[in-house]
Symmetry: C2
Subunit: 332 residues, 2 copies
């Protein structure tokens, strides 16, 4: 009987490094496909910053923590290889929550067919969590207006790069904050950002002042760190902050303090945290908003592909170090 | 010719103590009342935390800073003693921005007649800035729902005490944070709060946990300080934070850091800063919401009266030390 590889989470992370000991790699036998079920061979798997949160034990978070001893949670894309479900035929491309495993048997709950003719990497990089998150955060929460100035942190990342391009398409002045000169070059020359700051090497405050002469109306936050306060302090009255991610703080026992609320009052700012888990029902309408920009070539992306299921274990750390160039994807 | 006392702001504050040297007390001659103008004798003057902001030089704030050498800004109530304006007759009670002076000549702009038959202290304590601020912040921004739990900081203060009583009237579980046992007793026994914590003497974290067994849905912030993070960490998903004041930070050169945004994401919190200056046009509708509670005796208040125009100078410090018991008012 055929065997396949599964990676279970067996310990919760401490600190900012994902150690191999947190996981166990096991071989499982493929069980039989029962009536109503189908078998998916996963082809590509997405690695996302949110996964670190799922690995922790915070029960008040937006998703229940992954149970220790069960398969590591992740989204992916694959192909149906056996089916006893009338809605899914052998050969169908499907995506959804598949976990760190080569195969899965499912009844189709939370699994959707992929109809669009685009490569796996493009779908996982744009028309999946990153693009949906960018669209919900920027368009539905941020409500950007032509001529406004937006600062996007993690602008070289999967979500930030799409946020910036969507904002550009909406006619905003778009400034990206990144962690390397290479990413700064990329978002300016390839993605069309109006400005970029490498927070690791540049004088952030003076660069920000130079690039935002009319202040900041929107702040799309993906990273956290010392730059938060400096951005808040340049915000215009009635500015909006969309809090999407804090990669700098994931895995810290005690997250760093945030910005003072003084300017939240003085400038009457609004700060809104969100996660896509509240908006799964909105996915069709989000795709309706996002897809035309992709079709028109206004949303470019790049994928950082690593190979083999087990590469996911060390691959997660790339998200913390910022070494990934583009959307992190595991090819199975 | 009759003279009267005026207090001008001549220096901007540094640090957390309002020193007498920041002001000059001068005697002015009453000018003649021209056509369209009227003369008001101020009877009671309001001292509010927001005044510290007006004294500073932040030009991006919601109100322009007070110009050095001009009269200190404040709101007050008074009586018309001479009039060449057809809308205002001698004997009319009026309120509005009057400044630190015994008399003022005005054309009536931003001055409103007081029609309601209540003492000056009640009007300045409830049906003026404190009550309007509480109503806007709690009802229009916070949108409280019966059965929810709210934590109000500065709960013994002018705004916080009204927020708590309005929330109680709306059927919420209301916990107040105060800085003295006397205030804790007052908000529990007189105002009907469900719980009170004196953050200066009690183990804040364990008390908060005990008093909010179902978590916190609404956080009405008037003070700032270390308690912010502890309150945020007990908030329920989709909780709302109304940022109204940060008395602990006013006058600091560098305000204290705020809470981490980690739970802003995980719990999908919204944080909204506001000031009443954006809502002057809403005052009639706010009064329509607030007045019935006052008429029904559901909003109690107490005023802390100090006497004489010059007492305002040292009086402002009471707001920082928290020594005032109730709405701080200067009787002229």
């Amino acid at each position: 009987m055929k065997k396949f590889t599964v990676i279970n989470l067996i310990h919760r992370p401490e600190g900012k490094v994902i150690k191999p000991e947190l996981f166990e790699v096991i071989q499982k036998k493929l069980p039989a496909v029962n009536s109503g079920e189908f078998l998916v061979k996963q082809t590509h798997m997405s690695l996302d910053p949110a996964m670190i949160g799922w690995m922790s034990s915070d029960t008040k978070s937006y998703m229940p923590p992954i149970k220790l001893g069960s398969v590591m949670r992740s989204s992916g894309i694959g192909v149906v290889v056996e089916s006893k479900n009338t809605d899914f035929a052998v050969g169908d491309r499907v995506m959804g929550q598949m976990g760190w495993q080569e195969y899965l048997i499912t009844n189709g709950k939370a699994i959707n067919k992929v109809e669009v003719q685009l490569p796996d990497e493009t779908i996982l990089s744009v028309l999946a969590l990153p693009g949906l998150t960018a669209t919900q955060g920027l368009l539905n929460i941020g409500k950007p207006k032509k001529g406004e100035t937006i600062v996007v942190t993690g602008a070289g990342g999967a979500v930030g790069s799409i946020v910036g391009q969507l904002a550009k398409a909406k006619g905003l002045n778009v400034i990206g904050v990144v962690g390397s000169d290479e990413k700064a070059d990329w978002i300016m020359s390839e993605l069309g950002f109006d400005g970029a700051i490498n927070y690791k090497t540049e004088a952030f405050d003076s660069q920000l002042t130079k690039l935002t002469p009319d202040g900041i109306d929107l702040f799309y936050e993906n990273t956290g760190g010392f730059i938060q306060q400096l951005i808040i302090d340049r915000m215009n009255p009635h500015g909006r902050v969309i809090v999407c991610g804090l990669i700098a703080d994931y895995g810290k026992a005690v997250p760093a303090a945030g910005p003072s609320w003084m300017n939240v009052i003085k400038r009457r700012l609004s700060i809104q945290g969100f996660t896509m888990t509240d908006h799964y029902k909105d996915i069709p309408s989000l795709l309706t908003k996002l897809t035309p920009y992709v079709v028109q070539g206004k949303i470019k992306h790049r994928s950082h592909i690593i190979e083999g299921l087990e590469s996911a274990i060390t691959g997660l750390n790339l998200l913390f170090t910022g070494e990934n160039r583009g959307k992190l994807i595991v090819k199975l």
